[in-house]
Symmetry: C2
Subunit: 331 residues, 2 copies
């Protein structure tokens, strides 16, 4: 049973911490969040963990029981630069660290120097760290990489995650632009207000695993337009309005678009699924019907990756070099 | 590029060796098969490898270039006892070894003491060994184990491999009993002449990965009966005759059948596929449409696992503890 320092108590953090306790795979024995609203509050309340008796503190400096901590989970920032101080402090103490920081699933894409620094600090002090999650972290990178193992030849790979946002929470519906006009959508897009983080990371995870020299890559974001009247919690959507988002990342190898990742989430989307198509020998078409629930998937991945990073050698890891992560029954 | 000693030149061995060369991921620089028909013949002919200049020898004692060999592939016997002398000799030389020996995918099920011995010899001499393949080795064990990572709760797992044997080779059609009467099928079954090797290994691979205490397990084999006239290379099959085989392994945990593996191969089988169904939260239903070609899959897995076992620590490994295996583009 891991004795965990948990940092970051947004929705992902709260649910990850609770799952760790529910499954008796670990216990959060120190909890940090910089939000003044949360500091001093009992973890029992914040994360709905009845058997917890600790309260949240506002920074790592306020953690007093370092000797009892044997692993860390960080569910805070999405970028490596915003997380460096935290990661470095944990690695300097020789801890195994799991983070849902999206950029950490393939940190070398945008931050090669920071990646080198994390790797060096980890190796010097016996720490180890890995970024994980459902997407990025599994569905568009780890899983398709692994499926290629059965192919004697791979010509191209397309991964599609297609979701019906109808049953999702209103904040998610807002995040994908549902109910906007096309002009509003494009204005928000131009202002940088849209987009799933991690498509590039998944693309380069795939490319690196397969030794594919990506010479060029691009990412596009477009609105999905409603073609019939739609109803959802965010309000009615008329035909011609925005029902959701379609994001496509493409990687070019030897002048050809060899890797394609498609993320589409829209109100009323038909046939939601996660698909992996490998054009090769044999040709593989793998479908997860309905798709994997993104929220549950992410906190499950975080909890299950803890075992694997504890067992790993010191250094900066990715899901490509850790032993396969899996569900583990509660002891 | 791995410099490989390859042992065993049946169909799987020939194709694995050829793929290694075609993909320029390795070169077979020593080749062994005990079949007197093959000894002395050029590898170029035996495995259709144009750039090879070596010939097959009849035993490890006849291998002369040990200093040049840095890895081994063994595609020979299906059981651990039949392979012990070979594996031990390779591990004593500190080599990384990949084998398609079915029992080696989870050797502790039937041979805990031999497994301990292999692990000890490997660790003493710096060798490492793993059993792999498509089934056992991937579709019914490694892949479903990995898919459970996204679940916060797992109640049961069913893996089904359903194949149309119509387009397969006649020896395969004969192996599944196609064209027999039910009495002939049952007589051959009673004589031990039937059955896919490795279902138990896959079952216990899954159980061990998920920390499931299997209290009881069983394996059943039944004929699939033709319900309409069928035509195939082995001859016409009338309704009431045997079209193929259905094999089911079940693992009981806490009094409930929690793990089910189903292998069904029959002439004229509708909707061939590989399916993984995890009853849990979230519920996962993953389908590979058409199923993965068993032959190509096995030799691809063997070639791709070579990288991972070379990187692994000394000892006896399984696919559950190696880093995820993947296709690698030819250099």
């Amino acid at each position: 049973m891991h004795r965990v320092l948990h940092i970051g108590f947004g929705p992902v953090g709260r649910n990850t911490a609770r799952l760790l306790h529910e499954r008796r795979l670990g216990a959060v024995i120190a909890a940090v969040d910089c939000d003044p609203e949360l500091v001093g509050r009992p973890l029992r309340e914040v994360a709905d963990i009845p058997d917890s008796s600790i309260s949240l503190v506002g920074s790592l400096d306020d953690v007093t029981n370092w000797d009892e901590i044997d692993a860390a989970i960080v569910t805070a920032a999405s970028t490596v630069p915003a997380s460096m101080a935290t990661f470095t402090a944990l690695l300097e103490r020789g801890l195994p660290v799991v983070t849902t920081c999206e950029e950490m699933t393939w940190p070398r894409l945008r931050h090669p120097e920071l990646s080198d620094r994390l790797d060096a600090v980890a190796k010097e002090h016996g720490g180890r760290i890995v970024g994980t999650g459902i997407n990025p972290g599994f569905l568009m990178d780890t899983l398709p990489t692994m499926l290629t193992a059965v192919c004697r030849d791979v010509q191209s790979i397309t991964v599609s995650r297609v979701q019906d946002a109808g049953p999702r929470r209103v904040p998610f519906q807002a995040k994908i632009g549902a109910g906007l006009t096309v002009d509003e959508f494009n204005a928000r897009l131009a202002a940088g207000g849209f987009g799933h983080v991690g498509m590039g990371e998944s693309l380069f995870f795939l490319a690196a695993g397969l030794d594919l020299p990506v010479s060029d890559w691009s990412e596009t974001i477009d609105p999905v337009i409603a073609t019939r009247p739609l109803r959802c919690d965010i309000g009615p959507i008329e035909p011609g309005m925005v029902a959701g988002i379609r994001q496509v990342a493409t990687g070019v190898v030897d002048g050809k678009p060899m890797l394609s990742l498609v993320f589409q989430a829209a109100i009323g989307q038909a046939d939601p699924h996660d698909a992996i198509e490998i054009v090769g020998d044999p040709r593989i078409r793998s479908i997860i019907e309905g798709g994997v629930h993104g929220d549950t998937g992410t906190w499950s991945m975080a909890v299950h990756t803890l075992d694997a990073i504890v067992d790993a050698a010191p250094g900066l890891h990715t899901m490509a070099d850790l032993r396969p992560v899996r569900y583990r029954r509660a002891p």
